[in-house]
């Protein structure tokens, strides 16, 4: 059984006479020690879903188990105790403006009844962990967005949680700060062997740190799997849209009305295939002439990932053979665009 299991989760918001079904039967299984991402467009119910996990929101139907504990069956007291072992970070940081960075990190420790002297030690450990030792005495108003989120992360980790819930943790940050915060989440995840559930509307976040991803639409999970698989072989329209956002810069050629002379081919290659001499092999074996329109190598989490857009010229016979050969390559996804 997975560490976090969500089954048939439904949530309907009722406002006077009108009501909206936000979650329409969500099933998810998240393994211990993985970073699991949920991506979806704005308003699709991602926040509602993540808030059900620590019961900030009460679902109408379904079950949630975390480490064999039936979350929806907990009494108020049990729930409070359980929440102490679940960290959460927020898009708007949600720090206490009346407390310093150190004071904010101390808060969950006070809640858990940790003795004063131990709190002091633990706070300085945590400040160091997030690289903010010199900001201990600063108030949130004196910190940048990235620094505030670092305090938020330290606060979420204070009681050594088993789960970290991230609700759009980087959406209020610029791209560079986003990367540094994601790196921090990934590094603490590894160090503490945390299970992380992260929701976002940005595929970039998923690609940078998640092991697996679920794509949400209309209050349902429409696609799910290891990030590389979903990314290289998107099945639904929404997922393709998300992937496009990342691929877009590689397709500008086409948008500008490029007229292909041969077969226009887009290759996505992952893992080991990235080190095969693809183009030269094509030239040698099939006597075709690939024109490289765009090439791009990136990483999905720790695996290299490449995209190659080529216009391949040659006799029809040679072209067919070349494409056939490409199709047979392992870890390579080919798309013929004309």
């Amino acid at each position: 059984m997975a560490f976090i299991e969500i089954k048939g989760l439904r949530k309907t918001f009722v406002n006077g006479k009108s009501s909206i079904d936000v979650l329409n039967g969500i099933d998810l299984a998240i393994e211990q020690g993985e970073i699991y991402g949920v991506v979806g467009l704005s308003g699709v119910g991602k926040s509602t879903l993540i808030r059900c996990l620590n019961r900030l929101e009460t679902p109408n139907q379904g079950t949630i188990t975390i480490g064999n504990v039936d979350i929806l069956g907990l009494s108020e007291n049990e729930l409070r105790a359980k929440r102490r072992h679940m960290g959460m970070i927020f898009q708007s940081f949600n720090l206490l403006s009346s407390r310093t960075a150190a004071g904010n990190i101390a808060f969950p420790l006070e809640v858990a009844g940790v003795p004063k002297r131990r709190i002091k030690e633990r706070v300085s450990e945590l400040l160091e962990l997030v690289g903010l030792s010199d900001k201990a005495a600063s108030y949130p108003a004196q910190l940048s967005g990235g620094q505030k989120q670092r305090v938020g992360i330290a606060r979420a980790l204070a009681n050594e949680p088993e789960v970290l819930l991230c609700d759009e943790a980087t959406s209020a940050l610029d791209p560079q700060t986003t990367t540094s915060i994601l790196e921090l989440i990934a590094s603490v995840q590894k160090r503490l062997n945390l299970t992380v559930l992260l929701i976002t509307h940005e595929m970039k976040v998923i690609v940078e740190i998640c092991d697996r991803v679920a794509v949400m639409e209309g209050g349902k999970i429409v696609e799910e799997g290891p990030v590389i698989e979903v990314f290289t072989n998107p099945k639904s329209q929404v997922t393709r849209g998300f992937v496009e956002v990342i691929l877009k810069r590689n397709s500008r050629f086409l948008e500008n009305g490029y007229l292909p002379k041969g077969r226009l081919v887009r290759l996505c290659y992952i893992g080991d295939s990235i080190t095969t001499p693809l183009v030269s092999t094509l030239v040698r074996l099939f006597e075709v002439d690939p024109i490289i329109l765009q090439a791009h190598v990136d990483h999905i989490k720790d695996s290299p990932f490449g995209i190659l857009l080529m216009d391949i010229l040659g006799t029809p016979d040679n072209l067919d053979k070349a494409l056939m050969w490409l199709r047979l390559q392992k870890d390579l996804v080919m798309e013929v665009l004309n």
């Binding site: 729930l79 105790a81 959460m88 708007s92 949600n94 720090l95 206490l96 403006s97 809640v111």
Partner: protein
């Protein structure tokens, strides 16, 4: 314009009476008004201790109390005043209607302050497993502290002016002195002295309040 020593003595006594009425009333008002304000916030829909009936009943009580004009209030609560302090005139007797009129005012001001506290911050505390009691003491009140200080400042100043009406039941104080001597007996010098003294006191209270608000504002 110089005041006679007798007039100075009257001023001194009146000042002490005002000080007495306002400080005791402020204390009682704060002690009752702030908890009531907290109740008005936390029992709201969607708040940490949502409770429709408590919210409605407390809200009705506060509105009802606030609808009665203060001079009428003084007369209206005479029986209660007798019951509590044993008589219905004098400075101590005035404290009863003053407190009753002011604590609901304080409750509404507190409510406004606490509603300013970001729901996200409250939610963060909940996500850490904090109890409602802890959220009230360690989140709502500290986060709203500057606003609460401002609310107490406004209440004190309002009480200073309300206490002037206390003269009608023999409460004394600065306002009463100004009315009796300045208005009814045309002793304008004492009236001016009282008015100037009141202006100075109000300014002083306001600047101490502003200073404290600045000191505790971290935004």
């Amino acid at each position: 314009m110089l005041l006679s020593s007798q007039q100075l003595m009257m001023l001194k006594i009146a000042s002490l009476e005002t000080l007495y009425m306002v400080s005791v009333t402020t204390l009682l008002t704060t002690l009752v008004g702030i908890p009531l304000g907290i109740l008005l916030v936390v029992t709201r829909k969607g708040h940490i201790l949502e409770n429709k009936w408590v919210y409605r009943i407390v809200g009705f009580f506060v509105n009802a109390t606030r609808s009665v004009p203060f001079p009428i209030f003084i007369v209206f609560v005479i029986p209660l005043t007798r019951l509590i302090v044993g008589r219905s005139i004098g400075a101590t007797a005035v404290i009863v209607p003053l407190t009753l009129a002011a604590f609901v005012f304080m409750a509404r001001l507190t409510e406004t302050c606490l509603l300013e506290v970001s729901p996200g911050v409250i939610e963060a505390a909940q996500s850490m497993g904090a109890s409602s009691w802890r959220i009230i003491w360690r989140v709502l009140l500290p986060e709203a502290l500057p606003g609460l200080i401002m609310a107490i400042t406004i209440t004190i100043i309002t009480l200073i002016s309300y206490s002037a009406m206390a003269g009608t039941v023999g409460g004394g104080g600065l306002g009463d002195l100004a009315i009796r001597y300045g208005y009814h007996r045309y002793q304008t010098d004492i009236m001016w002295a009282t008015v100037i003294l009141l202006i100075v006191v109000v300014q002083l209270v306001q600047s101490v309040g502003d200073g404290l608000v600045r000191k505790f504002t971290r935004r």
